[in-house]
């Protein structure tokens, strides 16, 4: 790994490449430094423990964990379908299901509004038949977050499913296991590292979600005002508080990335592949 090069003390990199790379690092580091520079450290604790902050933080945690749970419940079967079942139009379905990764979140929020809003194609029936209104509710936040977060889990799990050796399923079936038992006892354990990575990515995405949430669910303290929304709002009223909340979000995301790094780049401990002869 890179440590080896460093120990050697000699990295022959063309000067222009090195210079541009350093500019890129500075570009990413600078905003963080700016926040740290301006942070009102002396009053940070009171900002963090202030009722509004705690409410937003709690709401963010609850909603993002719900979004992660929903992403797992629906995303794993979706990934399985995309990886294992060869149906016509699969590429189109995959593109559709991962569209929200590249869509501007605000556009996603608008689309959700016209689908699930009170006048939306599905929303009007939810309202009329079940008295269920999603926009401007906490449930709406969860829906918006799930919408943007689930694709991260789906593509991670699908890639892992594709790498599995299907003959392990065969072996399981010949031992008397049903398809469902095989899925639970053979497939799921094999994709567990990818599932964990996908879930953490989806959770981080849900935690940071802003555009779709504010468009679809609005910005009501206590019901739909999550951390990112609180940061945005605080920027206008109390910039110092915004800085502290932003730093908290950054710390959480940074911890997730560092924690993921090993899973992301290292091969799993027990790849389901050929046993050593």
């Amino acid at each position: 790994m890179s440590r080896r090069h460093r120990r050697g003390g000699r990295v022959s990199l063309p000067i222009p490449v090195l210079a541009l790379a350093i500019v890129a690092v500075v570009f990413f580091a600078l905003p963080l430094v700016g926040l740290l520079w301006r942070a009102p450290w002396s009053s940070s604790w009171s900002y963090l423990t202030d009722d509004d902050s705690l409410t937003a933080l709690r709401l963010s945690m609850v909603c993002s964990l719900w979004a992660t749970a929903l992403s797992i419940v629906f995303g794993v079967p979706l990934a399985w379908l995309l990886a294992r079942v060869d149906f016509p139009g699969r590429a189109v379905v995959r593109a559709l299901c991962t569209l929200s990764m590249v869509l501007p979140p605000v556009v996603g929020g608008v689309a959700l509004f016209f689908a699930l809003g009170r006048r939306g194609i599905v929303g009007q029936y939810l309202d009329r038949w079940f008295d269920l209104r999603l926009p401007f509710t906490t449930a709406g936040v969860v829906v918006a977050q799930t919408f943007v977060a689930m694709p991260f889990l789906v593509i991670t799990v699908e890639a892992s499913l594709r790498q599995l050796d299907l003959r392990f399923d065969d072996a399981s079936r010949t031992l008397g296991a049903s398809r469902w038992y095989t899925f639970r006892r053979v497939t799921l354990p094999a994709i567990r590292p990818a599932l964990a990575a996908g879930a953490v990515l989806a959770w981080a995405r849900a935690l940071g979600e802003f555009g779709a949430t504010i468009t679809f669910a609005g910005n009501f303290p206590g019901t739909t005002q999550t951390m990112p929304l609180a940061v945005y709002l605080a920027l206008e009223t109390n910039p110092e508080q915004a800085i502290i909340l932003a730093l908290l979000l950054i710390a959480v995301s940074f911890a997730v990335l560092v924690g993921l790094r090993d899973r992301w780049f290292r091969r799993p401990d027990h790849p389901i592949a050929m046993p050593s002869p």
Partner: protein
């Protein structure tokens, strides 16, 4: 207990039409070249591939018969399957692997573990019960896979090239172990292999599968004494000629004539041993009535013997001594005459 299989199946370029049966307690080896469809036959028996036509019945229970819409899923067939590279589940211990089939059948955990322990004891792996499969050697992994598939008490055990994943050094001892364990199993066994040594050491009977057809069934001695396919003839190292006999002469499709000392007529196989073939330079003259002209395609030295491959109307392998090779100064491309006495040629009907 019996197995009766009439398998018709198309898979890519493979056109499989294999019929065979098994008696109670018998071990049949499916022997054949790569791509003959051996593994596909096993997968069809296991239900991992549905057949297109025909019928598979285990103990008079039909498990696959497309004409009647019968297809029993693999998990409901009374089978065990040992895969070529064993496919032990790496995220489970060896014991959990062996207990897997019983757990899948809803056997209580304690019972399943007890039975699994008994099986590990039988195959000598109890010390590895709590290890992961990657801690096992190839031979141990094979025994674990065998224990895993036998733990559910199948009536038909299918083994796909169980020795192919092993290096040559351990294969012999693992084969002896396998034989010992297979001998204690009372059900029917079908073993797929491309190695006649496996078939010889392990099987009661051999079915030769060539290009999707069962071309010969019998003991290995019977099969090799009267080859009915190029594959078996090559295996035994003899020349196999196919043709139609009339008036004591067998004529091949290419028009080559082989004089034989046999009164029968009709479609026949003729076996000419390479050692029975004499080689002479053109114009050398010979009193033998069977003389064929050919070009030397290849010269292969095997110790003090030399194998000469001849191209011509009747392609042949001849075996001569090194002395003869040097006396005749043979080289690839030379045109020579090969001859064999009619009484040295074995003929039997197709």
């Amino acid at each position: 207990m019996t197995l009766s299989a009439q398998i018709a199946l198309r898979l890519g370029t493979l056109d499989l039409q294999a019929d065979f049966g098994l008696q109670s307690g018998e071990l049949l080896a499916l022997l054949g070249p790569n791509g003959a469809g051996k593994s596909t036959v096993l997968r069809a028996l296991a239900g991992l591939i549905p057949i297109d036509g025909g019928r598979i019945a285990v103990d008079d229970v039909v498990v696959d018969e497309p004409a009647n819409g019968v297809f029993i899923e693999p998990e409901h067939r009374p089978i065990g399957f040992v895969f070529q590279d064993y496919l032990l589940f790496e995220h489970m211990t060896v014991l959990e692997n062996v207990a897997y089939g019983l757990r899948a059948r809803k056997t209580p955990k304690a019972d399943a573990r007890r039975t699994a322990h008994e099986w590990l004891e039988r195959v000598g792996l109890n010390d590895f019960a709590d290890q992961r499969p990657h801690a096992l050697s190839g031979g141990q992994a094979q025994r674990a896979a065998l224990a895993r598939s036998l733990a559910t008490n199948p009536r038909l055990l299918l083994l796909d090239e169980p020795l192919a994943a092993l290096d040559a050094g351990t294969r012999g001892s693992v084969r002896r172990d396998l034989r010992r364990h297979l001998d204690t199993f009372e059900g029917m066994r079908v073993l797929v292999t491309h190695d006649p040594v496996d078939a010889y050491a392990l099987a009661d009977r051999v079915a030769i599968l060539d290009a999707g057809r069962v071309v010969q069934v019998g003991t290995l001695a019977e099969v090799t004494a009267h080859p009915r396919s190029r594959y078996v003839a090559d295996l035994v190292g003899v020349n196999l000629v196919t043709g139609v006999v009339s008036d004591g002469v067998l004529t091949t499709d290419a028009g080559a004539r082989v004089v034989i000392a046999d009164a029968r007529s009709g479609s026949s196989f003729a076996v000419i041993r390479p050692q029975s073939i004499a080689i002479a330079r053109n114009g050398g003259g010979s009193s033998v009535r069977n003389t064929w002209t050919g070009t030397i395609a290849e010269i292969d030295r095997l110790g003090d013997r030399v194998r000469i491959a001849l191209d011509g109307q009747l392609p042949l392998i001849a075996e001569i001594t090194v002395d003869a090779l040097e006396a005749l100064q043979l080289r690839p491309g030379d045109e020579i005459q090969a001859s064999a006495k009619a009484t040295d040629i074995l003929v039997y009907p197709v």
